[in-house]
Amino acid sequence: MVECTECGATLAMNEDTEVGELITCGDCGADLEVTGMTPPMVQLAPQEEEDWGE
């Protein structure tokens, strides 16, 4: 379990969650990047940049 950095909601982490994974807070909709698993940590995911894409 980890706390959303934006709204404080409690988020469940799946067993197969990866560091670097993008998850979305079900309460506020914020995109969060998983920065650690032991202990679970998240931060607000980086915003889309102009050169992002395929």
Binding site: D16, E18, V19, G20, E21, L22, E33, V34, A45, P46, E49, E50, D51, W52, G53, E54
Partner: protein, 299 residues
Amino acid sequence: MRFGLLYSLIRKEEKLLLKAAADRGVDVVKIDVGALTYGLRGATRLPPVDVVLDRTLSHSQALYALRFFASYGITTVNTPEVVARCGDKALTSIALQEAGVPTPTTLVAFTPEQALEAIEEIGYPAVLKPVTGSWARLLAKVSDRQQAESIIEHKATLGSYQHSIFYIQEYIEKPGRDLRALVIGDQCVGVIARTSDHWITNTQRGGTPTQIELTPQIKQIAQAAAAAVGGGVLGIDLMERPDGSLTCHEVNHNLEFAKSLEVYGIDVPGLIVDYVIASANRWPGVSGVPTVVPSPHSR
């Protein structure tokens, strides 16, 4: 064989690729593109790897990171040369034209005056695109001279220098869809159509992926387009002209497939991982060059 996955964020695609590698008994080292420092003789915090699959979101970061890796003797998929070509629409257009691959009429101009002249030469409607960028961002369908003048002025005034590289293309009256063909190595392995009521049919912008038959015509142009930019794991964007012929308008080097996986009907992540493994064996890094060298920064 030590397999690295270079990433910005782990999205559904990257998780599927990690699973495909695990299913093949391959351990993958995840490498956060932003966590390294890249030196001329080695990168700090770069784990030992023989081959790197690039899944970086930022084109600029991918381009430099892969070029550094290549100089360290690490095989990369795709190569920095392919990434450079595919990440720049003008360079892609030149490569397609030089290889004789059908591509829409394209003009590039550097000043607002020449851009306007180029749009008038192409004729209305014309399409104005940023020369770099993806996900159909900032595309403009220009329907008349007044629109052209406004859009050009906005780009020149508000945009970065890159927005003053005016990339102008003929508008193709396509049948409400474009095609995305997937090429791995020298083989076109799948194709989908992306349908939308909007002229932009990118799935990032709401286009719906649908299954279509992989015809010899699609295979031929997709494989030729992939070869034109240097090959690898590539998404080839095609449009159907009113006469039924195909034209290639874009080649994508950082394939997204999560929204279309079931529609492709093939094991896309598995095929990519197999190709990366084969590439590591076929083009091993330069012998004798260690993959981890103490960075000059740490001395």
